[in-house]
């Protein structure tokens, strides 16, 4: 089984053209990420802000809170109030606009308003709930969601560190979702389009299907090989993005509550590690979605050219609303499961609330159940993959003997 899988993978990717595609794709991914970092950091003092915040890194404690508070008060007393003050305010959980008349005399009132004194050991976590509770206190769905968040918050780490590199990484990944993901999907289509056609193209069917290895088993192994290659290609792109992130602006820790740094804490109970896992998962699901459709069409057509044409048509349809601003009927469920936009829904920390209601596709609330987007999409596409495998497996079993 393992040997056969290796052979099938070798059959699909051990070609100069395929290596060429993967190298060009990887180069473009690296270039896009590097270029975005370069543009994002030009003229910004992210590094200074990050270094300033990072000096307080470590487990959150009463002492750390007091130290930040003291530094904040000192910063207010200086005439030159720069970004440091805002960063410290953020670190203390003062997430709404600071009063213009903020001074050493009324700072305790400001802290009182933000209700952080009662929860100083989990100041940020409290603020997340508090901030949004005020905005959406009458929304039943929101209350369900808040309840989940409150429960989840019990498990998030009490670690403080600068989230600036983390946020920059996720912003860039989100921004580059379209070209990187789409290019990867095209490469997957091209590589896998001949998976089931290669035997017919090379007149191998007679030899292959006259062995004791059943046709259905060969079909299953081909599915496995195709899916693994798709996942591998996507993983390479993600790993490249991470390597470049670490080379340009190293991330201190992933074990940190996800939050944004422009001084507005949104509703979330994810750590950056959770987000990274979701990015990897959705990218893999995206790759599997396209590989599943490609393999299905390849099985039906047994022809590379036809499969590529069909899949390019599919991907163009997927991108049509993005490129031409076309709104399709049933666009909401359609957009939900489109493989090329899955990563746009990873922006869990900036798009969750809009206009006083939950618009983001990050979570779905059914009664008292809160189901994350990634779970719904993953289950859907894994079901499609499973159905594809079963149908082709059964078809191969029924048609074990060929009609030439």
């Amino acid at each position: 089984m393992k040997a056969l899988l290796v052979c099938e993978i070798r059959k699909l990717i051990f070609k100069k053209s395929v290596f060429g595609f993967i190298i060009v794709l990887s180069f473009l991914t690296g270039y896009f990420i590097w270029n975005d970092y370069h543009h994002a950091m030009t003229g910004m003092n992210y590094r200074e802000q990050d270094a300033f915040l990072h000096q307080y890194s470590g487990e959150w404690s009463e002492e750390k809170y007091q130290q930040i508070k003291e530094d904040f008060i000192k910063e207010i007393q200086t005439e030159d109030q720069d970004d440091k003050m805002k960063i410290l305010a953020w670190a203390l959980g003062i997430t709404h606009s600071l009063p213009e008349d903020l001074s050493i005399d009324n700072i305790d009132t400001s802290f009182q308003e933000s209700k952080i004194d009662d929860f100083h050991n989990k100041v940020i976590k409290h603020q997340i709930v508090y901030q949004n509770e005020k905005e959406l206190q009458n929304n039943i769905q929101f209350q369900t969601y808040i309840h989940k968040i409150e429960n989840d918050l019990q498990n998030v780490p009490d670690i403080f560190d600068s989230p600036i590199p983390n946020n920059l990484y996720f912003q860039i990944i989100g921004k580059r979702t379209f070209p990187i993901l789409l290019l990867s999907l095209f490469v997957i289509v091209i590589i896998l389009s001949n998976t089931f056609g290669i035997e017919r193209q090379n007149h191998m069917e007679q030899i292959l299907f006259s062995t004791q290895l059943s046709k259905s088993k060969i079909v299953f192994i081909k599915w496995l090989a195709g899916s693994l290659i798709a996942v591998l290609i996507m993983m390479i792109q993600l790993i490249i993005s991470l390597v470049i992130a670490y080379l340009i602006f190293p991330i201190h820790t992933w074990n940190l509550l996800a939050q944004i740094t422009d001084y507005i804490i949104e509703i979330t109970s994810y750590t950056y590690f959770d987000l990274l896992c979701i990015v990897f998962l959705l990218s893999i699901v995206s790759a599997l979605a396209v590989s599943t459709l490609t393999l299905l069409f390849s099985y039906v057509c047994k022809n590379r050219f036809q499969t590529v044409l069909i899949m390019i048509f599919f991907l163009v349809i997927c991108c049509a609303d993005y490129i031409l601003s076309i709104s399709w009927p049933l666009s909401w469920p359609w957009n939900l499961f489109k493989p090329n936009v899955m990563l746009s829904s990873i922006n869990y920390i900036t798009t969750i609330i809009s206009g006083g209601t939950i618009l983001s596709m990050t979570h779905f609330i059914f009664g008292s159940f809160v189901v994350p987007y990634w779970l719904i999409v993953s289950v859907f596409w894994l079901m499609v993959l499973l159905i594809g495998i079963i149908l082709t497996y059964l078809h191969a079993k029924r048609n074990a003997i060929y009609e030439f």
């Binding site: 052979c7 070609k15 006259s210």
Partner: protein, 295 residues
């Protein structure tokens, strides 16, 4: 082991490609002769189990349809149009075939090396298949059929593209298998089989019209084969009247080999028949259509 074919027939649309064939083959070399379209390949594909038809095929008690996995484990098959993955090297391709044949690497590796040596492909093991010549590819195809030491070896036109030396190596190897293996091979090159085949099956229009040992088959045309040397004009006249199975120019005369019930010319001399004569005797029309015999 015995290969038993009972009432085998196959129809493509309105054309009956194989007509009610009943056959028992035992270990040995069985040559299948027939013109293009006579049903050889169809019959072989049915025996291999990759083409559905009517009737039943057994290897001893193993039914091709109901227990194909076991059946295939005894089977080696080299199709007429040998396919391959162009980007695989010889070694990779044979390893792949060993895997799909369910052979353990501890067995298959030495087996591959032995067959590569046997068929003189040692220097090509790391070459991609797309870079090999037609003869080398054919040898790779033969090796893959032999990987699992088959008890039933089906070879459809195996010697096409092989040079005389390669054909000799191949034939010698096949002879060495004949004690224990049922070898069914089809060919157009009758000289390949006349010295090695235990029996010969002649197919015409989907039927096996003759099935016997080489010497017995030749009795059909005994005293019917003649040789004569004639000037061009007379040679042309004779070619229009009789079945000329061989002809070439010798100085100012034309040499003709004729199959005829009676003496075709007063100068004709009776000679011993060979398989070529028999083949051409039965497939005269096809031969003429294919333009094989010409002056």
């Amino acid at each position: 082991m015995e290969l038993i074919l009972e009432n085998i027939s196959k129809t493509f649309g309105k054309k009956q490609a194989v007509k009610n064939i009943n056959l028992i083959l035992k270990p040995g070399i069985h040559a299948l002769l027939g013109a293009n379209g006579s049903g050889k390949t169809t019959l072989m594909r049915m025996i291999v189990g990759i083409l559905k038809g009517n009737g039943s095929i057994h290897l001893d008690e193993i039914n091709v349809l109901s227990d194909y996995s076991t059946y295939a484990s005894y089977l080696g098959y080299m199709p007429q149009h040998f396919g391959y993955y162009p980007d695989y090297t010889v070694q990779q391709f044979l390893e792949y075939m060993a895997v799909v044949k369910g052979l353990h690497s501890q067995y298959s590796q030495p087996r591959i090396q032995a067959l590569i040596k046997e068929f003189h492909l040692e220097e090509q093991t790391q070459q991609k298949l797309k870079t090999l010549s037609g003869g080398m590819l054919r040898r790779v195809g033969i090796i893959q059929a032999l990987l699992n030491e088959p008890k039933l070896l089906i070879l459809d036109e195996p010697t096409v593209g092989l040079d005389p030396k390669e054909r000799m190596v191949f034939m010698n190897y096949i002879v060495s298998l004949s004690e224990t293996t049922i070898v069914l091979l089809s060919t157009h090159i009758v000289s390949d089989i006349e010295s090695i085949a235990d029996d010969i099956l002649i197919m015409k229009e989907g039927e096996i019209i003759l099935h016997d040992a080489y010497d017995e088959l030749l009795k059909v045309i005994k005293r019917k084969v003649w040789e004569v040397r004639l000037p061009l004009k007379e040679a042309k006249e004779l070619m229009n009247q009789k079945r000329v199975v061989k002809s070439h120019k010798e100085k100012n005369l034309f040499y003709l080999r004729v199959v005829s019930e009676e003496k075709p010319h007063q100068d004709a001399v009776m000679v011993n028949p060979c398989l070529d004569d028999l083949y051409l005797y039965y497939f005269e029309e096809e031969v003429y259509h294919e333009g094989i015999v010409s002056v």
